[in-house]
């Protein structure tokens, strides 16, 4: 899967968690713009992990603040598999 495809898939997965319908850009932050709490993060991360069959450990999550960083990280995880 190339980066635009990964981006499209994650956009689809984020939709049910984006309760306020915030516009998603590369710079959108999860804690700030999307107001994800820890439970939402867990469910959202699980959805991505299941879709791409990867692990995003909490250590990796700590490095990811924006949507763009997430797409990049997932893209790389897939490529490394």
């Amino acid at each position: 899967m190339d980066r635009p495809e990964t981006d499209q898939t994650i956009r689809r997965l984020i939709d049910p968690f984006n309760k306020k319908g915030v516009e998603i850009t590369e710079a959108t932050t999860f804690a700030g713009d999307l107001e994800f709490d820890s439970l939402t993060v867990m469910d959202f991360v699980a959805a991505i992990e299941d879709e791409f069959d990867v692990i995003i450990s909490m250590n990796q999550q700590a490095e990811i603040e924006t949507y763009g960083q997430l797409v990049g990280a997932v893209h790389k995880l897939q490529a490394d598999r």
Partner: protein, 416 residues
């Protein structure tokens, strides 16, 4: 800076309100002040002026039934336990003033570890100064950088802190969700070290883990398994060894962590294991090495209590009766509980929100009942809970009295 000059680029701030390292606590301080301003007794500042027995104390001037102390087996005033402590205090003094690996291992520490090995029928036992340190020390020492820890999202703080301290890759799964756990184990890269961390009883809702299935899955993926039995030791399982024993998987579990601060009735923590290389941990586990050992009186009370717990089947049976009676009674009154059926000695009553939870807590205290108030963010799904932990020393009549108190307080606060 000379007085009276206000610089335009620096807004004036009141003395003591400038930003410093404490600013991050401002929201919490405001929330606490808001709660206390409503006339509420401070739930986190209760003083027990006198303790009359494992189930009764004088709190804030009132004779109070204790229903939130995790003193499951009521060992704190057991005459043999108290006597052993007094004797050790006389014979060995008030403290060891040293680490277990220097001058802090007395005969009593050895005897306490012997008692644990017998209690669990395991080869090795290591006593720590608290249960918190046992989790912190064991987890951080065995799972390091590059290893993977798969754990339940509702794990105790000491487990999370142990994971962070060891710098392993931390992979949580949804509470008690076997399938979510298996998926994560399956995705761990080939060759990486794996540790699964579970609890027997989860203390927030009082529910137990499906250990039979979970331990089997962990083993299938070649992971080591650590189970924290803090809230089940002494009570659950034929010999009181915990949920591992009840589920029949104790031989497949690599490490059991426990505490002396609940059923055992004093303070301290431990890890038991059959791993052939276990003893090396005494040299490499920093929260074991770099702190003073428990006082002689504490290990003497712990050893005596643990040995008595081996023969505690009658008390265990009575505690189950208490748990069932309280759970059933509260359910009949219309309270929402953490579990459909009683699974442990913890019965969690779910409150509609923090305000009414705090009001209910205070109403119960005024009735003469102490329960444990648990609130976000320490709780799963940000619930406010009144956690009740039963004691084998609560009488049948006391449980009925408790139900009456819940009924009156619940109606007064408008929860039932």
């Amino acid at each position: 800076m000379s007085e009276g000059i206000s610089q335009p680029d620096k807004p004036e701030t009141l003395e003591g309100e400038s930003r410093d390292l404490f600013s991050k606590f401002d929201d919490l301080i405001a929330m606490r002040e808001g709660l206390l301003a409503s006339g509420q007794e401070d739930p986190f500042n209760l003083v027990m002026e006198k303790v009359l027995s494992p189930t009764r104390a004088i709190c804030n001037g009132r004779d109070t039934i204790l229903l939130g102390t995790y003193n499951y087996m009521g060992m704190t005033f057991d005459p043999d336990v108290v006597e052993a402590g007094k004797q050790a205090l006389e014979d060995f003094g008030s403290g060891t003033t040293g680490s277990r690996v220097l001058n802090g291992t007395y005969q009593g520490h050895k005897e306490c570890e012997d008692a644990l090995r017998e209690f669990y029928a395991m080869d090795h036992a290591m006593v720590f100064s608290t249960g918190y340190q046992a989790n912190l020390g064991i987890i951080s020492t065995i799972a390091g950088k590059g290893d993977y820890i798969v754990l339940d999202i509702d794990s105790h703080a000491s487990i999370w802190d142990g994971c962070a301290m060891g710098k392993a890759e931390v992979v949580p799964f949804k509470h008690n969700d076997l399938e979510a756990m298996e998926k994560r184990l399956r995705r761990i890269p080939e060759g990486a070290g794996k540790l699964v961390v579970l609890e027997g009883v989860y203390s927030m809702l009082g529910d137990i883990a499906p250990l039979k299935e979970m331990v089997a899955v962990a083993k299938k993926y070649g992971a080591m398994v650590l189970v924290d039995e803090a809230h089940s030791m002494g009570f659950i399982g034929e010999h009181g060894r915990g949920v591992c024993e009840q589920a029949g998987v104790i031989d497949d579990v690599d490490f059991i962590i426990g505490t002396f601060s609940k059923s055992v009735g004093t303070v301290g923590g431990f890890c038991v294991s059959n791993h052939p290389k276990f003893e090396i941990l005494r040299l490499v586990c920093r929260p074991y090495v770099f702190t003073a050992s428990l006082p002689p009186s504490v290990v003497a009370t712990a050893a005596t209590s643990i040995r008595k717990l081996m023969h505690g089947s009658n008390k265990r049976a009575h505690l189950w009766e208490n748990s069932k009676r309280l759970h059933g009674g509260l359910k009949d009154l219309g309270f929402e509980l953490g579990t459909e059926e009683p699974q442990s000695a913890i019965v969690a009553v779910i409150m509609p929100d923090l305000e009414r939870g705090a009001a209910m807590w205070e109403a119960l205290l005024k009735e003469g009942l102490y329960v444990n108030l648990a609130r976000p963010p320490a709780t799963p799904a940000n619930m406010t809970l009144l956690r009740c932990s039963l004691c084998a020393e609560h009488s049948e009549e006391e449980v009925e009295t408790i139900l009456g108190m819940f009924k009156r307080a619940g109606k007064a606060v408008g929860i039932i």
